[in-house]
């Protein structure tokens, strides 16, 4: 049989026949995830189909996109989602449980080799544990819930090969931004990005990498199971690309050469070295989101903030990605470090990422955010600016009140 990429292997399993890039196929779906903001549209399509979920226990509803409810319209949509989930035996994750992608992984719903569809574009995150995760719109999601399957074109794959090791102060976010910058916002459209990271990176860091693949247009972002993921998950024997599998392109990144990166307004693929952006005044820092709201991200920020104070001209908003992240940060003292530095804590969920609540920007304001999109008007005013960065850089900016690197901060005495 012709050698296969990881995406081809997973999709072949779900199509019930071997498939290769370019083929249209119908595939079994292991889980369908619906977020609160899209739920009313999904339920409308199901009603239109006069259908119910074929496998209710393979459908999750997550209340996270403006939770707790920010107004009556949101409250009504969330009530509709939770009522439906309860009445139909679907899984329901309530206000404060956390961001959909984080929750599905924490709950063990996402497993290596599975095919997961989400009503949110960052569903590529599931590739962190070797699952094929992809985002779709309300109609596709409703149809997949009703049918237990969906149609798709098997994507060509783009291979990312990493060499060397990251230097101090450089992390998975910097690597992900470098990747997006090099590929461009449509550099991987319709493709599966297959990242061979060896045994490097924790599950959380792998989630950051897989999450941002969609910002290069990718259908999926698969990190080959290794290291922590290979240790903690049952990785099936077949879940590895064959030698000789066909790739559309290969991107090589030398980790040793990477320095901290930022996406500058108003496109994610406008990636610059932080060092060249120093001095820009910062009004708000957002530490959170499905990209960087995990325990390791809070740790990285706390390491910079320990013994320091947030600049009086800057607000630091911390929104853990889930209730488990919040609990763990409370337990190990990270939370106290952040609060003593002057951070403001929000309910686990999406936060101000898409400009709905918990930190909307005014005209003229500048925000450094650990999230995933800096589009014009994304977090509020169209006259605001969003810079995307790693948790360590974001924390440094909060202390300096301007764009800065951790190494720019005055040493902590005592």
């Amino acid at each position: 049989m012709r050698p296969q990429t990881l995406a081809e292997k997973i999709l072949s399993r779900h199509a019930g026949r071997p498939v290769w890039a370019g083929e249209l196929c119908v595939v079994e779906v292991d889980h369908v995830m619906v977020v609160d903001s899209i739920a009313p549209s999904v339920l409308e399509v199901l009603q239109d189909l006069r259908a119910e979920p074929r496998y209710p226990d393979r459908v999750s509803f997550v209340i996270d996109h403006a939770a707790p409810a920010v107004n009556e319209s949101v409250a009504a949509a969330q009530r509709q989602a939770r009522t439906y989930a309860r009445e139909h035996g679907c899984l329901l994750f309530e206000v404060g449980r956390g961001i959909c992608h984080q929750v599905l992984i924490e709950e063990g719903i996402v497993q290596p080799g599975k095919l997961i569809l989400g009503s949110d574009s960052h569903s590529t995150t599931y590739g962190a544990v070797g699952a094929f995760g992809t985002g779709m719109g309300a109609t596709d999601i409703a149809l997949a819930a009703a049918a237990g399957r969906t149609w798709l074109k098997v994507p060509a794959s783009l291979k990312v090969v990493l060499r060397g090791e990251l230097g101090p102060g450089v992390g998975a976010k910097d690597l992900a931004l470098e990747m997006i910058g090099r590929l461009g916002a449509d550099g991987a459209t319709y493709m599966s990005i297959e990242i061979d990271a060896g045994d490097r990176f924790s599950r959380g860091e792998r989630m950051t990498l897989a999450n941002l693949c969609v910002e290069a247009g990718a259908k999926a972002g698969l990190v080959l199971p290794g290291g922590e993921v290979a240790r903690d998950y049952a990785v099936p024997e077949w879940l590895r690309p064959d030698p000789g599998a066909q790739y559309r392109a290969t991107l090589e990144i030398d980790l040793a050469e990477l320095s901290p990166r930022m996406s500058v307004p108003h496109q994610v693929d406008q990636v610059r070295e932080v060092a060249g952006l120093r001095g820009r005044k910062v009004d708000q820092v957002f530490l959170g989101s499905c990209t960087n709201g995990r325990l390791e991200d809070l740790h990285a920020a706390a390491q910079v903030l320990r013994g320091r104070r947030v600049n009086p001209g800057t607000r630091l908003l911390v929104i853990p990605a889930s209730s488990l992240v919040l609990e763990a940060a409370a337990e190990d003292g990270t939370l106290l470090t952040l609060l003593q530095a002057g951070a403001v804590l929000g309910t686990p969920g999406c936060g101000p990422c898409m400009g709905r609540h918990q930190g909307v920007l005014a005209p003229g304001e500048v925000c450094v955010s650990t999230s995933n999109r800096n589009f014009l008007g994304r977090m509020g005013s169209a006259e605001a600016e969003i810079y995307l960065a790693s948790p360590a850089v974001a924390a440094a900016c909060a202390v300096a009140g301007q764009i800065a690197l951790p190494e720019d901060l005055e040493a902590v005495h005592g």
């Binding site: 249209l24 119908v26 609160d36 903001s37 899209i38 009313p40 549209s41 399509v45 239109d48 189909l49 006069r50 996109h65 403006a66 920010v70 107004n71 319209s73 949101v74 949509a77 989400g118 009503s119 949110d120 574009s121 569903s123 985002g135 779709m136 719109g137 309300a138 109609t139 596709d140 149809l143 009703a146 049918a147 399957r149 149609w151 916002a185 449509d186 459209t189 319709y190 247009g217 259908k219 496109q267 898409m354 400009g355 709905r356 909307v360 999109r373 589009f375 014009l376 008007g377 994304r378 509020g380 169209a382």
Partner: protein
Amino acid sequence: MARVWKFPDAINTDDILPGKYAPFMVGDDFHRYAFHHLRPEFAEQVRPGDILAGGRNWGLGSSREYAPQALKRLGVAAIVAVSFARIHYRNLLNLGLPALDEPEIAASLRDGDQVTLDLEAGTLQRGEEIFHFHPVPEFLREALKEGSILAYYRRYQKFPGEA
């Protein structure tokens, strides 16, 4: 005759409909906020039958189907672009809003052009010029015969090409 609204490369779904104006947030009037930041006059001035012309990677970003839904409600007849982002392309397909990835045609259209679109014939006419679209793939042709993939599934309880 229909008007062409020309947009640059990399129009994202937050440009088409900002997340803060989702139906989730503002209720049923959301289409009034289409291109709110980029072209505030758009929702007022667009007329049913008008055509949008885009550049590369039209519709990147969020999976929000209400973005193309807003354009459909405003009566946009088709989007011609150099290329489309994938989730958005599926959403357009599902809503039955024609998405034509036609780089040459998209590039030659100008803001304010007056054109006549004939989807049946696969042509777009501007003055004496006639542009021809590429044919639609078999899978989609099957689905579109029923109106949409959703309509196809409703009728046959399977996807096109499925046994």
